[in-house]
Amino acid sequence: MNEQITLEVLRYRPEESSKQIYQSYDVPFKKEWVILDALNYIKDELDGTLSYRWSCRMGVCGSCGMMVNGEPVLSCASFLETFHPGPIRIEPLENFPVVRDLVSEMSDFMEKLERVQPWLIRKDEDPPEGEYLQTPSQLMDYKNYSMCINCMLCYSACPVYGLEPSFLGPAAIALGQRYNLDSRDQGEKIRNAVLSEDDGIWQCTLVGECSAVCPKDVDPAAAIQRLKVSTTVDFFKSFLMPWQNR
């Protein structure tokens, strides 16, 4: 039971050096430990100066994303066992500036999220007495896009975002589409205008890795593709039936 496993953690401490360096730590190898447990062990027992974000430890708050052996994962949902016998490389999420150690800077996403207007837009000002009716199958239309935990794994996997940080990116677009597809929403036109700007859906070349790494099966790649289809249909409609443009 005293088996150990090595974690090679990519550290960045701006006050000490402008370079990132790998630091190795040996931690107990336990079957039920996730990567995050190992990091907590390091923080508590070996080196209090290691910084990373975490909170829920149940894969729902979205704060603990990092690169493990080159793949973006939630560290609270990846078991040490998967990577036995190690060593395991732990790095901050790719494609984001690094603030410190494993902490990446994500205010860029916050700004983008706001840009896609992820709230219900209604034309009529007064909501009904009771609820808006929405059948289970209407709910299914957007349900999986509403499951996004904003963990940023998809941004980390998307080379287009890496190359072009102005790209709105998978999660923000998927969340825009989530409201577009909500039967209660009437803001598709407004939102699509933003989504199809230069930094929007047309940047995506359907690499598809965003969907492959998403821990919540949101499938942002599909959201983007469907938006391309519907924007294209609207585009041709506006030529063929210009009277519909209002």
Partner: protein, 118 residues
């Protein structure tokens, strides 16, 4: 609302991709491999000429060739941007890619039109 041309290129790209996916593999196989190697006997000049004289076939060929070119133009444009990080040459690349596809389309149209007068 600013109207972007992007959906237009994308529509051409995706219809080209679809046509190419359905038709090109078998055509390449037959015309470029099976017939030259004698696995299949060539229908011969006369029959082929007659075939292409058919208006429907010519319309089909026109769409297939032209859309395939646009498919390439659009995809290749992004391959250059991302694969070689040439984003700053954005304009130039777009002009070259779509320009070639447009030229190719005009040529195809010309050739298929003069075909009918033969």
């Amino acid at each position: 609302m600013r109207r972007h041309i992007e959906p237009f290129w994308w529509a051409l790209f995706s219809s080209g991709g679809t046509l190419a996916a359905f038709f090109l593999p078998v055509l390449i196989f037959i015309m470029g491999i099976a017939i030259p190697l004698g696995w299949i006997e060539s229908p011969g000049y006369e029959k082929l000429f007659a075939l292409v004289s058919n208006l429907h076939i010519r319309v089909f060929l026109f769409s297939l060739i032209s859309l395939s070119l646009f498919h390439w133009a659009h995809r290749f444009r992004f391959t250059l941007y991302d694969g070689l990080q040439l984003k700053h040459l954005n304009r130039l690349i777009a002009v070259l890619c779509y320009g070639s596809a447009i030229t190719g389309t005009l040529m195809t149209g010309y050739i298929l039109i003069i075909f009918s007068s033969h």
